[in-house]
Amino acid sequence: MLGIEEGAGGSVAAEANTNIIEVHGLTKKFKGFTAVDNISFDVRRGEIFGLLGPNGAGKSTTLRMLSTLAKPTAGSATINGHDIAKDDTEVRKSIGIVSEKMIMYNRLTAKENLWFFGCLFGIPKDTLRSRIDELLELVQLTKWKNAQVGTFSTGMRQRMNVIRALLNMPEVLFLDEPTLGLDPQSSVEIRDFIVKLNRENHTTIVLTTHMMVDADLLCNRIAIVDHGKIVALDTSSNLKKLISGANTAVLKIEVSNLTLGIMESIKSIACVDTVTQDDDTHLRIIAHGEEAFDNVIDTIRAKGGKINTMENLLPTLEDVFLHITGHQVRDAADQKIPMEGNRRFGAPRSRVR
């Protein structure tokens, strides 16, 4: 899948200068806890925009505020020129949201579900009828048109969830962790779907994820979010250049007799930025400078370490995250899951499907 370049949203070039979403100082506080801290960014019309960060970083909350499901504590945002607080009904006409929650009624059939939501969107009956058929066709659910959704498998429900959000042909589609919990095959399908949607319908897509892979493959621009703030915002390659541009190298080394002593001595090398341990014998070292390579090897050998394999890697977004925030996505995920008491119903809870 590495064939997809950063320019997955092919329509970016033509409308590069029109912002469809503008966010100014958006903040969301729950009792004594700030989930989203004064963030500002713009999303260009027709691009695929990603919010990347660990669990609890505030990505979903941002999405909920933008889709008018939650009220911001401070700050403002406009979508297509409409303010999300003052003009919320207008905003909702042109957005769609797909989150982990399955928005469908189990005892109604696929058609009835789509009909219900379609009518709430004010879509004229004839248009709605044909659109429902098209959408079901799109995700191969046509056979199940008159079956109760409660009988569907998880995969089918996920597909239903997506097409429900497309009923009103939204200009902006919000996707909250689209590949969470999916098997690799389904993840690929979803990614293809997103790209196709963006390319053919020029739908602007804003997605949140904690998977670097998704962000890298799909997004034109990525905002790295940590503890409620945006710590970096740029295209994927520009972000990676943050590391390599500063003459930084990412080394993956396998030391068969790795000890704490060896790790400590590597860390103490001046040109080494971070050392993380992937497993018993594998280290991932970010270091800068021309001599980085040699310094590291010498240090390890001086301590009697036996180097089995060594790779000079291209930096990944994981490395970028580490470089900027000083901790790994994994660590941050354990660190802070906001307490139940802080979240009112409606804010996302556990992220397990």
Binding site: K71, E112, C119, L120, F345, G346
Partner: protein, 399 residues
């Protein structure tokens, strides 16, 4: 968003709710069975006809020491009692050997009560004094105890009157059987009801149960419906649609109202069909009252939902409110029987007024003008509750 779209969206949401309800087979069955069950239980527990006091196991102890050498006075009394009992079948009379035997039999539960003729019975009567009859009852069962006391007192009074009549006739030979009664018991009491026919406890309860079921179904149904949608995420689906969010509450309320009314109708049909309850008033007024009752509770239901995080808490809160209301609103027991502080509490509960108004219409055939107080209370309560509910709901939904 105009009023028409508000209404059409609300109706769509209501229809969706009802669709879901009707496809839930178990839910449908319970919808019908629950009121059926309640009616049947109450209907058959409380006897339909006036006083069916019969076959009470009662024993007698005769401790009379007699007058002179004869206990004929007490024997006459006992015979008289047995004659009456043979006619009415009120008791299953037996003899106990002593007072302590009697007491232990009552304690064991083999007897519901006992009659003791004290030792001075004959001597009192022969000396021109009142003869005392002691009635012992099972204190742990106040209802039976009361029934026995009333029934026996009636019987003894009757017997006493007959004896008095005899004495009067003996005193003055110009008195005959007819006017001796007028001498002994100058006043006679005749009771009449406001409407024709006899009423019973069931007629009293039926309106109350009707009001209770309908209101309960709305008050528990609404929070459940809202909480469930919140938890499953479908509430987001409605919130993200470009509709007036008011239509969500309205739609849900309409759906639950329909559900409550259906249950109410089933109950009504059962009450009339199986238990012979007669509606003396206008049936439209009855339905209108039920609708009003629902309306006044909808707001309360919404407020409670908005404050509770999940369905479980909402249900528990509902139950807590429901329970005192059931017992304090005069549904099962008239509020006049309760101590004054309880009565004050019940005056603050809307269910009291609904049950009261419904009862007046169904049993007494009252018209609109007779129940204006109750109507006003219900309307005001409903409006106030909804006025509170709407902004609270809105705020809580978009936190």
């Amino acid at each position: 968003m105009g009023a028409t779209s508000l209404l059409s969206h609300s109706l769509r949401i209501a229809r969706k709710d009802l669709n879901e309800l009707f496809r839930n087979r178990l839910g449908l069955v319970l919808l019908v069975v629950m009121p059926l069950f309640m009616m049947v239980m109450v209907g058959f527990i409380y006897p339909s006809s006036g006083s069916t006091v019969s076959d009470l196991p009662i024993a007698m102890v005769n401790e009379d020491s007699g007058y002179g050498n004869s206990t004929i006075v007490s024997q006459t009394f006992i015979q008289g009692l047995q004659q009456i009992n043979d006619q009415t079948g009120m008791m299953v009379l037996s003899n106990a050997s002593s007072v302590s035997n009697l007491q232990s039999l009552i304690q064991q539960g083999s007897l519901d009560g006992g009659i003791i003729i004290p030792s001075n019975f004959s001597s009192c009567i022969m000396c021109g004094q009142q003869g005392t009859i002691i009635v012992i009852t099972d204190q742990s069962n106040p209802q039976i105890s009361g029934t026995i006391q009333t029934a026996l007192t009636e019987v003894f009074d009757q017997m006493g009157t007959m004896l008095a009549q005899q004495h009067v006739q003996e005193l003055n030979s110009s008195v005959n059987a007819n006017n001796s009664l007028a001498i002994v018991q100058p006043y006679k009491v005749q009771t009449q009801g406001v409407v024709a026919g006899n009423t019973n406890y069931f007629d009293f309860i039926a309106p109350g149960i009707l009001a209770l079921t309908v209101m309960m179904s709305v008050m528990t149904g609404l929070p459940s419906a809202i909480s469930m949608e919140r938890e499953s995420g479908t509430m987001d689906g409605m919130m993200v649609a470009p509709i007036n969010r008011l239509s969500v509450i309205l739609g849900k309320a309409l759906g639950q109202t329909a559900r409550g009314l259906i249950q109410g109708l089933i109950l009504l049909v059962l009450a009339i069909g199986i238990f012979g309850v007669v509606i003396h008033g206008s049936i439209f007024l009855v339905l209108g009252l039920l609708l009003l009752g629902v309306f006044s509770f909808v707001g309360l239901g919404i407020v409670i939902t908005s404050f509770t995080k999940d369905q479980e808490t909402a249900s528990m809160l509902m139950m807590t409110l429901m329970f005192p209301m059931m017992f304090l609103s005069g549904v099962f027991f008239p509020i006049q029987q309760m101590p004054w502080y309880m009565q004050d509490i019940s005056k603050a509960l809307p269910l009291t007024y609904a049950a009261d108004a419904l009862r007046k219409v169904m049993v007494l055939g009252a018209g609109v003008s007779d129940i204006t107080t109750q109507l006003t209370v219900l309307i005001v309560f409903g409006v106030v509750m909804i006025a509170i509910a709407v902004p609270v709901f809105r705020r809580e939904m978009t936190r």
